[in-house]
Symmetry: none
Subunit: 82 residues, 2 copies
């Protein structure tokens, strides 16, 4: 099934890294919707606050944008890794 977050980094960072990996490997394609914060809670067994923080990090990295009431979407042009 899912994925285990067990590293030393904060959970929200680990989760953001995993989501970034999925974007870069095409699991979440450009323009497509990322699972909702609530869905991520279940998959990764974290609180919604933590998935929220992870999604926020993705936006700060320029990888996703949130649309209130609809979801969080991968940007059309994924920037290179910094």
């Amino acid at each position: 099934m899912g994925f285990d977050l067990e590293g030393a980094d904060p959970l929200c960072i680990q989760l953001a890294d995993e989501l970034e990996r999925r974007i870069r490997t095409g699991v979440y394609a450009p323009g497509r919707r990322i699972p909702s914060a609530s869905d991520l809670c279940e998959e990764f067994s974290v609180s919604r606050q933590t998935s929220n923080s992870a999604l926020k990090l993705l936006k700060e990295r320029g990888l996703a944008r949130g649309v209130s009431g609809r979801g969080t979407f991968v940007v059309d042009d994924v920037p290179e890794p910094s």
Copy 2:
């Protein structure tokens, strides 16, 4: 009321010993939550740092495990005294 810490050992050790006694006598049952560090501060009139150190000792003794944002819990299988 509660309990007085007046022995020769460091406070955090005395507090850890008392908590271990409570675990072994079933006051804190396996899987149940131990009062928070802040609660222990009040009961034993020590600083949060000291209750923190005591809880850390409990974890090192394999008697408890901490869950960030939720509390410190007695392990399901309490090991024999060393």
